[in-house]
């Protein structure tokens, strides 16, 4: 039977065609991943030299670079403080404590459409804040608040995803033993979901660290301040000005952003893996 099938010329041709297409797919896919990897390695390699060059300069490029590094750290830290407890708490409440699946779905639908808004739009919302209710607030705080607005929906979704990965049998078993909703969350679900939540929070934080579009928009309304100028903003401004010193500054800042992103994201995804299917 198999002999007949294998030796059938039509089938043999189809199998050959399939193998050719699959090989082509594999080649293109592998090359894509390889190209991305090469770009990352190249930007780090070139950037490391640029960091040395920038720090060794006597003009204000090294000052700008160091100021941008501290601004980045401060803004990400403030945005983290503002968004993590709020986002995780809200995510837990909406997905585990609320009794109405309809309300849960509605809220997460809204949150999802918020999370899909382009980052420029959040910058524009930030401009609204700075020209409206937050007039006169220091630029650092305005930047952190803008990034918090982006981070809260993403953290809520990451929390929901982590909670969804916990098998339902855990909940059912806990309820069967007489635990309340809150006890179930506290003693059975959270311990299992903790790694996933932490991973999601870390991913969101490193996205904040690399965020450029929302912050650069604040520049339209915060003209005489520099405390909101993080590393990515520094890259954009340096690239807009041009010149050798600026190019070196941009390279150095990009290298820092890439290294932080690669390190934190790989660490975070390794934490999120707990209940993931193997296929």
């Amino acid at each position: 039977m198999t002999d007949v099938l294998v030796s059938s010329p039509v089938r043999g041709r189809r199998r050959l065609l399939g193998n050719i297409i699959l090989t082509a797919c594999g080649t293109v896919g592998g090359l894509t991943l390889l190209a991305l990897l090469v770009l990352v390695v190249w930007s780090i390699g070139q950037g490391l030299a640029d960091i040395g060059g920038t720090l060794g300069r006597s003009d204000d490029a090294s000052d700008i670079f160091i100021a941008a590094c501290t601004n980045s750290l401060l803004v990400s830290l403030l945005a983290t403080l503002g968004s993590v407890s709020l986002g995780v708490g809200a995510g837990i409440y909406v997905s585990e404590v609320i009794h109405s699946p309809r309300l849960t779905r509605g809220i997460f639908g809204m949150v999802q459409s918020l999370a899909s808004l382009p980052s420029v739009v959040f910058g524009i919302v930030g401009m609204h804040m700075v020209t409206g209710i937050l007039a006169g607030v220091p630029g650092l705080l305005a930047a952190a608040l803008t990034l918090s607005l982006i981070a809260i929906p993403r953290i809520m979704l990451a929390t929901r995803d982590a909670l969804l990965q916990v098998p339902d049998t855990m909940r059912v078993a806990s309820y069967a033993l007489g635990a309340t909703r809150l006890q179930t969350v506290r003693y059975h679900i959270l311990p299992l979901a903790m790694r996933g939540i932490t991973g999601g929070v870390l991913t969101t934080m490193t996205r904040n660290f690399g965020a450029s579009a929302p912050l650069v928009m604040l520049g339209l309304v915060l003209r005489n301040e520099t405390s909101w100028q993080t590393l990515p903003v520094g890259v954009m401004q340096a690239m807009a000005t041009g010149g050798k010193s600026a190019a070196e500054l941009a390279g150095a800042a990009v290298a820092v952003v890439v290294m932080v992103h690669v390190g934190v994201t790989l660490w975070a995804t390794s934490m999120q893996r707990r209940f993931q299917p193997l296929n």
């Binding site: 089938r11 399939g18 894509t32 999802q112 690399g210 450029s212 990515p232 190019a247 193997l278």
Partner: protein, 254 residues
């Protein structure tokens, strides 16, 4: 046995978190919706040609998708069909890392690799490469949702691997794939930094890139009113597309 503790306080704290987060979300949506309404009804004379920006956005998104979809699909097929489970597990975090890479990195590479010359196609092509890992990820999730048993049955009945793909896997995950394409389109329309930095100063721009170029001083100057209106239009587009995408295939994890 653990003593029964009052649950009022923790519930209240969690509820307060949720109320505040949802309130903030509603506030953001209200601001954005106000801008969208302003785009539709206001008679404010806008200083840029919005129609030209829409055409620019369509053109750049089209080219970017034409690059990103095949590349991402190839990666997804490789992960699903050719890679061993161990390799798949090893590659997945890297894919997630590439998919969330800050766009500023790609903008920097696009500008630096051109060495002074500015080709008009480069922003769209870079955007395509930037989106490829994202496409690979959503396609991979979409394909993972197709029933494995049907494919095994087809193979057992004598279908070749290609036939199993074209007749079982792709039709079974068609909705999910369409939704993934729409999600990619949302990201292509909304991506601003790459187009703003890598495109030639005089060339056509996109809706998302024009505010950035105004803020950096490399493009036409805009007053805040113009920026709000462009933001409103952008938000309207992306929210509608995202809504259609989630109706097509409600995904729990992106």
């Amino acid at each position: 046995m653990r003593a029964q503790r009052s649950e009022t306080l923790p519930t209240l704290v969690l509820a307060a978190c949720a109320a505040l987060a949802v309130g903030l979300a509603l506030a953001v949506l209200a601001v954005v919706a106000g801008d969208s309404v302003a785009f539709v009804v206001s008679d404010h004379a806008i200083t840029v040609d919005v129609w030209a920006l829409c055409r620019g956005t369509a053109r750049v998104s089209f080219i970017a998708l034409a690059v990103a979809l095949p590349l991402g699909f190839a990666v997804a097929v490789t992960m699903r069909e050719l890679a061993s489970p161990a390799l798949r597990l090893a590659v997945r975090p890297w894919l997630a890392m590439f998919a969330t890479m800050p766009p500023i990195v790609f903008a920097y590479m696009a500008v630096n690799l051109q060495r002074g010359v500015r080709w008009p196609m480069v922003p769209a092509l870079t955007l395509g490469l930037f989106l490829a890992p994202f496409v690979a990820r959503v396609f991979e999730t979409a394909l993972r949702n197709a029933p494995e048993g049907m494919r095994d049955a087809a193979l057992a009945l004598g279908a070749t691997r290609l036939e199993a793909w074209t007749q079982i896997l792709l039709p079974a995950s068609a909705r999910a794939l369409a939704s993934a394409v729409l999600l990619t389109l949302v990201r292509a329309i909304g991506e601003s930094v790459i187009v703003a930095l890598a495109s030639p100063p005089s060339g056509p721009s996109t809706l998302a890139a024009v505010p950035i170029r105004a803020a950096l001083g490399t493009g036409p100057a805009l007053n805040p009113q113009d920026v709000f209106i462009i933001g409103g239009l952008l938000a309207l587009l992306t929210v509608v597309l995202q809504y259609v995408a989630t109706r097509l295939f409600p995904r729990e994890r992106t």
